[in-house]
């Protein structure tokens, strides 16, 4: 069955990684480190959707930060200003971004070519302006503050460790669902669409319907991540949801490689950690960190160029070669 089979070694590696990820709050009380790793978890949720959209369905979105933002502001507004429960805010954020994704994808995916990329670029810019100008809801350029922590029933998730577990729990669940999806009829259809559109048509695959569905899922995941983010940090502002953020998301997906979830997840972790290098590298000097942060964009750019030139298939390609070598020596 080729790559469809999950062998025992993969299961062991996944179990080990999973155990390590969930043990972090038990091993450290460093709140800064936990917060940074929580950001990684949030980006993992977004990148799961991007991996499906870019890596499996072959579609490019330059506006996913807008969905991230819509999710964040939606939940922030209804929970903070209208007094909705946290879970209701998150659910509404997912619903709103799903509908938004559908409305954006339907017209642009009916057309052939790069209309989706252009439409998402335009959409991202429109939303950036909305986030700044719709002061009544978003707080304008000054941002939206005082967003409460997540809470379910009477249980408040207000410590760094609890937030870490919440985010990584959701991220793991979304990854598991996506992993099932790509190994199914739908995942096969996505890879087929990526491989040959004519061939996919001959298999009776509804190309537009499939692309729209994947886009909606990726928008909903970005919305979910945004809602979670808002309650983790308590303060959101338009700059977080700019075109720049969308481009970084595309960079993570490209760096991660196609037809893979693990690749983009690792790439997302790597790129998320770069500006917070001091959290994971003990003893990193203040000036070194500042240099990294100042050169952040260039580091991203150079990393991507280097990977595209020297690591075929991105992180996913490297992982595949590694697993082949492991099998030979194991």
């Amino acid at each position: 069955m080729g790559e469809r089979t999950i062998d025992i070694r993969t299961v062991a590696v996944l179990a080990l990684v999973g155990a390590l990820v969930f043990a972090v709050p038990l091993l450290t009380a460093d709140r800064y480190l936990l917060k940074v790793l929580t950001f990684v978890g949030i980006n993992v949720i977004i990148i799961t959707g991007m991996a499906l959209l870019f890596g499996y369905a072959g579609q490019v979105s330059l506006g996913h930060a807008a969905f991230y933002g819509i999710g964040a502001y939606t939940s922030a507004y209804v929970v903070t200003s209208l007094g909705w429960p946290w879970l209701g805010g998150v659910a509404l954020a997912v619903a709103v971004t799903s509908v938004g994704g559908l409305l954006l994808a339907l017209p642009s995916l009916r057309l052939k070519g790069h209309y989706l990329a252009m439409a998402t670029l335009g959409f991202g810019e429109i939303m950036r302006v909305v986030f700044v100008e719709a002061r009544g809801i978003t707080g304008g350029p000054d941002g939206f503050s005082g967003i409460p922590f997540a809470s379910v029933g009477g249980l408040a998730i207000d410590s760094a460790g609890a937030n870490y577990w919440l985010i990584w729990g959701v991220a793991a669940a979304m990854l598991a669902l996506a992993a099932n999806l790509v190994r199914s009829r739908a995942g096969r259809a996505m890879r087929a669409l990526h491989g040959s559109e004519l061939g996919a048509l001959a298999c009776g695959i509804d190309l537009t319907g499939l692309k729209v569905r994947v886009f909606v899922i990726s928008a909903a995941l970005a919305g979910l991540a945004g809602a979670l983010y808002a309650h983790v940090v308590g303060f959101i502002s338009p700059s977080t949801f700019s075109l720049h953020a969308s481009v970084v998301l595309v960079a993570m997906a490209v760096l991660g490689g196609t037809r893979s979830l693990a690749g983009p997840v690792l790439a997302a972790a790597l790129l998320t950690l770069i500006p917070f290098a001091d959290a994971v590298i003990p003893g990193l000097s203040r000036s070194a960190l500042e240099t990294i942060q100042e050169w952040q964009e260039d580091i991203y750019g150079l990393t991507i160029i280097a990977v595209l030139l020297f690591v075929p298939g991105g992180v996913a390609g490297a992982l595949r070669r590694l697993s082949r070598v492991g099998r030979r020596w194991g």
Binding site: M1, G2, E3, R4, L177, A178, N180, L181, S184, R185, A186, G187, R188, A189, R191, A192, G195, S196, L198, G199, A200, L201, A202, C203, G204, I205, D206, L207, R213, I217, R259
Partner: protein
């Protein structure tokens, strides 16, 4: 019984008439062929019959239902499957997965069912995998099941595309120049596969340039020249038809081919 009815189909590109008032029937259980010299309008006709293109005039009905203007995925669901002159395989997927992808139209697992691995989707997935193995055996590709399509020898790629088309459980299989680029041995094994497919109850329509294959396997042949039908009948008669010899082969004698 007529499975596919083609009635007065015409198609123009600019001033050029690619298909000119063509009518014929494909009867259930038959192997039928459409032949003609290069530029005779074979590929245009083929694309019309599979709804990848629409005619300017005329009607195509499959099992009594008009199929003109319907989206290709609905045609596939109705029971018409096709292959391509330039194979359109999913190169990065294994041979087995390519055939499984062909079962898309006849399976139901959706995004949610699959993401949650509901028991019925797991069962459906297992059935699709088994069916795909059977089809690989039918076309003689079972040894290549785990090979990525990109690594498949050229002569076997057509067979894989046929297996993938069969996974849609078609009543009518349309093959676009299936023998192009195949050597004699490969053409012979293709012919064997076509007989096996017909014997399973699938009607076959071949659009072909290669006379050897067509003369051997077809029950009936339609000959096109410059878009128009100039002859129709069993291979024996077509071979002797003066209009066919004149238009299709010029000075050459059909018997020599």
């Amino acid at each position: 019984m007529s499975l596919l009815e083609v009635r007065s189909v015409s198609k123009q590109f600019g001033g050029l008439t690619a298909v000119d008032d063509v009518s014929f029937d494909v009867f259930e259980g038959a192997i039928k062929a459409v032949i003609g010299p290069n530029g005779a309008g074979k590929t245009t006709l083929f694309n019309i019959l599979t709804a990848f293109d629409r005619p300017d005039e005329g009607r195509v009905s499959f099992d009594g239902t008009d199929i003109v203007g319907q989206p290709p995925q609905r045609i596939v669901r109705a029971g018409i499957a096709r292959t391509f002159q330039n194979t359109q395989l999913f190169e990065e997927m294994s041979t087995h997965e390519n055939v499984m992808a062909g079962a898309h139209a006849v399976t139901r697992a959706g995004f949610f069912g699959a993401a949650l691995r509901l028991p019925w989707t797991v069962r459906e997935e297992r059935e699709v995998a088994e069916e795909a193995r059977r089809l690989l055996r039918l076309v003689g590709l079972e040894e290549w099941a785990d090979t990525p399509a990109a690594d498949l020898p050229h002569g076997l790629r057509r067979l894989l595309e046929i297996a993938r088309a069969l996974a849609t459980r078609p009543r009518l299989l349309l093959l676009d120049e299936p023998a192009a680029g195949l050597n004699t041995a490969e053409t012979a094994s293709l012919a064997d596969a076509l007989y096996r497919i017909r014997d399973r109850g699938t009607t076959i329509l071949i659009v072909e340039h290669d006379m050897g294959l067509v003369m051997e396997v077809s029950d009936e042949i339609v000959v096109l020249d410059r878009g128009a039908k100039i002859a129709e009948g069993p291979p024996r008669l077509i071979q002797k038809d003066p209009a066919v010899i004149a238009a299709y082969l010029g000075e050459e004698d059909l018997d020599e081919l």
